[in-house]
């Protein structure tokens, strides 16, 4: 099964945003790493090390050819095989919405890593709202190309929904970026991210709760 919501042909710009957020020589775990292109990009640009996790057979040889470490794993089984604080960053690129237990996975990300980075398709984008609100139909778009009855995307959310979940789970959002399908940003996207953003990118960490 193809886990990715779409094989977006022009995926490089979101790699650049992620790379911007990552400190050189960090240890990175990429959940649902696909063909390993992002891991390779980060290794080349930022000298990162680490592992990609991927379930889909077809991506494994590609990951190996991309020179990354890939471990065939079902993310819905959790990250139990990784110790606490093993990574500087745990990445989840366009995969959150396909997970059975997204909230649990966010907690797991911040258990094994000190920072998390997720990207997901924004269900609050105006075109989605138009299709559902005006035409009364489940949205179909470039970033969400599947019919409702045949989609890996079982947990769709908007930027606001994601931020509410973070508040609930004591997750501190450090960075937010909303981009269009070409992964570019603009003034409009900065002003109305939940309306104009097609893809959301977040960097977050565990909120430090004062014991006193």
């Amino acid at each position: 099964m193809n886990r990715k919501i779409a094989d977006i042909p022009n995926a490089r710009p979101d790699y650049a945003i992620i790379a911007e957020w990552i400190r050189p020589r960090s240890r990175v775990l990429d959940l649902g790493c696909g063909d390993g292109a992002l891991m390779r990009y980060l290794a080349e640009r930022k000298q990162t090390t680490g592992y990609g996790l991927e379930l889909d057979d077809k991506y494994l040889p590609q990951c190996i050819r991309n020179g990354i470490n890939v471990i065939q794993t079902d993310l819905d089984q959790g990250l139990a095989e990784f110790d606490d604080d093993s990574f500087d960053y745990v990445l989840l690129s366009l995969t959150l919405q396909a997970m059975h237990f997204p909230a649990r996975l966010l907690d797991e990300m911040l258990r094994v890593g000190s920072r998390g980075i997720v990207t997901f398709p924004n269900f609050g984008h105006w075109r989605a709202r138009l299709q559902l609100g005006v035409f009364g139909k489940m949205p179909i778009s470039r970033t969400l190309p599947h019919q409702w009855y045949d989609t890996p995307n079982i947990h769709l959310c908007t930027l606001r929904d994601f931020e509410a979940l973070c508040r609930d789970r004591n997750i501190d959002i450090l960075e937010r970026r909303a981009v269009d399908h070409t992964h570019r940003t603009s003034l409009g996207l900065r002003l109305w991210p939940n309306l104009l953003g097609e893809i959301a990118l977040y960097q977050f960490t565990r909120k430090v709760i004062s014991r006193r």
Partner: protein, 380 residues
């Protein structure tokens, strides 16, 4: 008459034997004064001597991994599916070395060899050798061949255990280790199967306490039983159902104890062909080497501690239907490797062929293995 071999075969191969005079200190505390190792090589060693690959064999394997010994040989070497020009372990790119482990019965010194001290075969006096002992002896072979560092050490099952041991014992003498259908140690169930196999051999009246060579007999019945049992554990329930189901040889049941079901006939055939070409004392010894393998034991039972100091990059492959060394056993290895921040890739290949899948041409297995060998070749 010259025989045409397939174009992706290494063709005719000639085993070679090296004698070692330097005594080998064994894990048991015993010493093997001198010994022979028989081996084969395929493909050319490059001028930098950087493209050598060692293949380690499993319980019933030998040095004969690929090609044919003579034009009349019907079956090629045991891993001919993988080793040859243009194959996964590409002999156009790699210089492949494959040896028979000591204690074996295909030419290297083993229980059937004449003990120079007594003038009769070692038999039960042949010391029990372990995976680390094999690795030591293989390292001496590498010295003899003037191979300072393997591009990769590769093995399936017990062979994978040797590859792992190599990475632990000689961290700078290999760049890659490929572990296929392996485990970091045997479970009680694994040991139990081995013990039944050993009991089958030892309780055969023709065994004579392992001195059957002088008695001009062979514990043929015991060895057959051991192989039958082993063979069942190498296959999966699914595969046996698919291959044999409840098919009857004569189309009806006869209400007697002859061969009725196809699966019985298959097992007997496998047992006969194996017992005709394998030594019972070697079988005993190989199963012990499996039982004793436990690199974590020296590190307080913690595998990741045992792997401290390892430098090699790893490829670990398991098969979904392998219940002898199930995927979770491979994942134990993978976890210990990434605990040490080592480079490791892991593939869990969907297959219904059980443990024996590592010998077979399964497309996903070939794809992953080939991709990794490309990486190995790129570093040569």
């Amino acid at each position: 008459m010259a025989r045409e071999f397939p174009s992706d075969s290494v063709g005719l191969v000639q085993p070679r034997t090296v004698h070692f005079d330097q005594p080998l200190e064994l894990s048991s505390g015993e010493t093997l004064a001198g010994y022979d190792i028989v081996f084969e090589t395929y493909g050319e060693l490059n001028s930098a001597r950087s493209n050598a690959v060692l293949i380690c064999h499993a319980l019933s394997g030998s040095h004969h991994a690929a090609g044919y010994h003579d034009a009349d040989e019907t079956k090629p070497g045991w891993w001919d599916n993988m080793v040859g020009p243009g194959k996964v372990i590409d002999t156009d790119r790699f210089h492949v070395v494959s040896c028979n482990n000591i204690g074996g019965c295909h030419g290297s010194t083993g229980p059937a060899t004449i003990n120079p001290e007594t003038g009769i075969p070692y038999g039960p006096d042949f010391p029990i050798v372990t995976v680390p002992d094999w690795v030591q002896s293989q390292a001496r072979l590498a010295d003899t061949l003037n191979i300072g560092q393997w591009a990769a050490v590769i093995g399936g099952s017990l062979g994978g255990m040797q590859a792992m041991q190599w990475a632990i014992d000689f961290p700078d003498r290999l760049r890659h280790a490929v572990l296929i259908a392996a485990a970091p140690k045997l479970t009680a169930q694994n040991i139990a199967f081995n013990e039944v196999a050993r009991q089958a051999i030892c309780s055969d009246p023709d065994f004579h306490g392992g001195r059957y060579y002088e008695n001009d007999s062979e514990p043929w019945r015991g060895l057959r039983l051991a192989r039958m049992l082993g063979h069942i554990t190498y296959l999966s329930d699914d595969l046996m159902s698919e291959k044999f189901g409840r098919d009857l040889r004569e189309g009806r049941i006869n209400f007697d104890y002859g061969v009725e079901f196809q699966v019985e006939s298959y097992l007997r055939y496998q047992a006969d062909s194996f017992a005709g070409s394998f030594d019972a004392n070697t079988y005993l010894l190989m199963t012990k080497a499996l039982d004793y393998f436990d690199p974590a034991a020296k590190a307080g039972g913690v595998l990741s501690s045992a792997l401290k100091g390892v430098n090699a990059d790893f490829m670990v492959i398991s098969f979904t239907s392998d219940w002898r060394f199930a995927p979770y056993r491979s994942r134990e290895i993978v976890r210990a490797l990434h605990d040490n921040d080592l480079n490791v890739s892991y593939a869990e290949v969907e297959s219904h062929q059980g443990h024996d899948a590592f010998l077979l041409k399964i497309p996903q297995y070939l794809d992953v293995f080939t991709a990794y060998m490309d990486r190995v070749a790129a570093g040569c």
